[in-house]
Symmetry: D2
């Protein structure tokens, strides 16, 4: 499946599955994604997880934005590694949602754990001030 948003498309992220409250995305770490220590920049691991969070939380219909998110880095990731991010809705109440995203490395090992807090809005995100993000 092809992703529709510019950020994911330009990074070669592919959308493996998306249903209400769930999404799985895949990304290959390139040499341009490395940090000063020669391993994948935490920012790209976050971006992949955040994208999975966005697809999972928007799959229900109404525009949903990221209010906040948290990530724990567990293992270093090398250039060439293919990562899979799996997002699952954990809780939802009123306008608020909580999503967990696990980022797996090539051997299925967990490289990072992400948790995102979403907020459902009406209207277009550009016109809304209070909450924004993904």
């Amino acid at each position: 499946m092809k992703v529709a948003d510019p950020a994911c498309r330009s990074l070669g992220i592919s959308l493996e599955s998306v249903t209400a409250g769930h999404a799985r995305l895949r990304m290959r770490v390139t040499g341009e994604m490395l940090n000063g220590h020669g391993i994948a920049h935490g920012g790209y691991l976050f971006l992949l997880a955040d994208a999975a969070f966005a697809y999972a939380s928007n799959a229900r219909g109404p525009v949903t934005l990221a209010h906040s998110a948290q990530m724990t880095f567990l293992r270093p990731v090398a250039a060439g590694d293919e990562l899979v991010a799996e997002a699952v809705e954990r809780a939802r109440y009123g306008r608020n949602g909580v999503y967990d995203v696990t980022v797996h490395g090539p051997a299925g090992e967990i490289v990072a754990e992400f948790r995102g807090q979403s907020v459902t809005v009406s209207g277009r995100p550009q016109e809304r001030a209070p909450e924004a993000g993904t």
Copy 2:
């Protein structure tokens, strides 16, 4: 000042200042950084903040990695906007550090707030398992 790491260099991020426990980075949001809502992908805001965190925490010398990080998204960011991320060390004890990074938009307004937890390691990050990331 030019950034040395591949991720920041390829995104055109510039390093405006870096001293022990402090760093300021600048990034221009391009069309390739947008999400499906037409605003800057939260992942790129995080990446910029995370990079500032990495420069500030590594400026003291010993290799310092991201253990975890959290971000709150406050305002949407448009393509073309120039962002400035300012990282400041908040606390440090033993191997652990806490850093705050504020991401400012073109008019100086706060668009996101980031907090990172660092861990100082010895040796090269590729050889270390427990903590990794930025």
Copy 3:
């Protein structure tokens, strides 16, 4: 099962089950646990979840401490409500662990979601500086 630690004991928290990587605790919200809005103080919801996290992460044997934790508040809780916190290990690598704790209200509804990052240490926590907490 009776809890052994002073904090849980004095609050009447009961330990319903504990195995490696898992724990379930129960607490009744008293009038002394309310905040200025007349609902349960978020600090007590956190304390219950944090205690479940501590039991689940220490069940394996070696001393494990809280490095950091994050909580999302979803529903208000009233005095008299009985809460159940269920902690599950999500990932573990090297000395680091990630645990999720869901706090349920009387009808089983989710009132809060907690995520904790643990670190396993050797020796007694009083003698260790770097990480401490729960």
Copy 4:
């Protein structure tokens, strides 16, 4: 100054100062606040910080609740220690706010760093579903 809410009052927490966007609270760690490792339970450190967050964010007038919060534990705290939590508003936009709370030990050392995300509501918290907490 005396605190008005049951949770703080029953724990002997005193309110040293409160102005719009700022609050300072003090608490003495008792033997009933210890965890199984014989140090202060992380839940009580969080509760103190969360209370400071609540006073700082509600000082402006409209009812403000905790959406979520994150805490990093840096140093162990012993029974008898007197802690001071200092809350400062970091950013505010629309209904959302970000507050930092530093918890200091008896010698002024930092024992924990807290960050809270608030949401301003209208009406009484009991009647509101979406966000609740402190």
